[in-house]
């Protein structure tokens, strides 16, 4: 079973839920697709970490062969190529590495070169395989690193928990696409509800089954409960705001391993999700 944990809004507790679901699932794989700020590794502290580079392809021009026909410029739907003063120019942050310019160049003036955009790290923690995607600072697109994480098939015997980036854009869509079920983590606030609605809209487009976890509850926020009830969205768990959980989190410990109440809660949540996926 592949579970994607997402939220729309940042800071709702995606990593908290993901890490603890992975801990509850035992021989699981935890995948950190929040590649701009991957912090599941701070809690899971993986050991025996191996790192691999993630590279994309960029076109490279042989100016002696280029005849200036501009077929590549006209072909590029991302507008990553320009032709200025008789020379082709690539905009690296706009290029999507599709390779189309190579195919259309009638003069074979284009080759591809590797461009490093980030890396993935593989390690383990108490039987959990921890795969972390890390985007290099300054890179425009997180998607190639997310693909590298999701394509890692080194140890997928048990459940896979995918810790998604915040938002509802391309990186989230990519992270969610391979999942069997989505867990939406929402804060009981107006902002939390608004961004939950954006993610619900995305998942309806993708036709993914999902349930909601309301996290950091100090008091019931009726509009969020009403929204879920009116739209037939199942609330899988309601996690109260607690000083004890905050202390465990700020100490970068795994609540499942430190706190009996959390252990029971995440075991129940996992069983609930397993039952949802089976039906």
């Amino acid at each position: 079973m592949k579970l994607a944990v997402l939220s729309g809004k940042g800071g709702t507790g995606k990593t908290f839920i993901s890490v603890n679901l992975a801990a509850a699932a035992k021989n699981a794989t935890y995948m950190d697709c929040d590649v701009e700020e991957p912090n599941g590794r701070l809690f899971l502290k993986p050991t025996k970490v191996k790192s691999a580079s993630v590279d994309t392809m960029l076109p490279s021009f042989d100016e002696t062969r280029c005849k200036g026909c501009r077929q590549c410029v006209d072909f590029c739907r991302f507008n990553a190529l320009a032709f200025i003063k008789g020379k082709p120019k690539v905009f690296e942050t706009i290029c999507h590495s599709c390779g189309g310019c190579l195919l259309v160049c009638p003069h074979h003036a284009i080759t591809e070169k590797w461009h490093p955009v980030g890396r993935i790290e593989r390690g383990s923690h108490e039987g959990i395989t921890v795969i972390t995607g890390i985007l290099n600072p300054g890179e425009a697109s997180a998607v190639p690193v997310i693909h590298a994480v999701l394509d890692d098939t080194s140890a997928h015997e048990g459940h896979v928990v995918i810790d998604c980036p915040p938002g509802s854009g391309c990186p989230v869509l990519e992270s969610v696409s391979a999942s069997d079920y989505c867990v939406l983590v929402a804060e009981p606030t107006a902002f939390g509800l608004h961004n939950l609605q954006m993610v619900v809209e995305l998942l309806m487009l993708l036709q993914k089954p999902y349930g909601v976890v309301i996290n950091k509850i100090e008091a019931t926020y009726a509009p969020l409960e009403d929204y879920c009830a009116q739209n037939g969205i199942r609330v899988l768990s309601r996690i109260p705001y607690s000083k004890k959980l905050a202390q465990i989190n700020t100490a970068a410990e795994v609540a499942y391993e430190q706190d009996e109440e959390s252990r029971k809660r995440f075991q129940a949540l996992l069983q609930d999700i397993e039952a949802e996926v089976r039906t």
């Binding site: 991302f78 320009a82 706009i94 989230v172």
Partner: protein, 120 residues
């Protein structure tokens, strides 16, 4: 000398467009013939790289000068490589900016934003 201005509408008293890459139209004024033409911006609806495409379009049209409120750094890279001079326009009518430029009242635009794409 050809002066380009991103504009909102195809009429004489059109306002200057707040966007460069996604402006619907460009006004191209030829100072030798003292004539102006309105050109459709082929990058207006681009899903990405609009600044690059719009800048390419203007250099292909032979523009020497661009008057704009703002511009992205990718567009600036294309324009500056092609020796197009970019001047900072003032919000308001396109023709007022053209007059101001011809009277030497506009300054060079030397700050370009990092673009809005991929801000997810």
């Amino acid at each position: 000398m050809k002066i380009a201005i991103p504009i909102d509408e195809n009429k004489e008293d059109t306002s200057i467009c707040t966007s460069f890459g996604r402006a619907p139209l460009f006004l191209l004024h030829n100072t030798e013939t003292k004539t102006s033409e309105t050109l459709k911006n082929p990058a207006a609806d681009a899903t990405g790289g609009a600044g690059v495409k719009a800048a390419q379009f203007l250099i292909d049209q032979g523009a020497d000068i661009l008057l704009t409120l703002r511009g992205g750094e990718n567009a600036a890279e294309v324009l500056l490589a092609a020796d197009v001079q970019v001047y900072k326009a003032q919000a308001g009518l396109a023709r007022d900016n053209l007059t101001a430029f011809l009277e030497g009242k506009l300054d060079k635009l030397n700050r370009f934003h990092a673009g809005f794409h991929h801000k997810q």
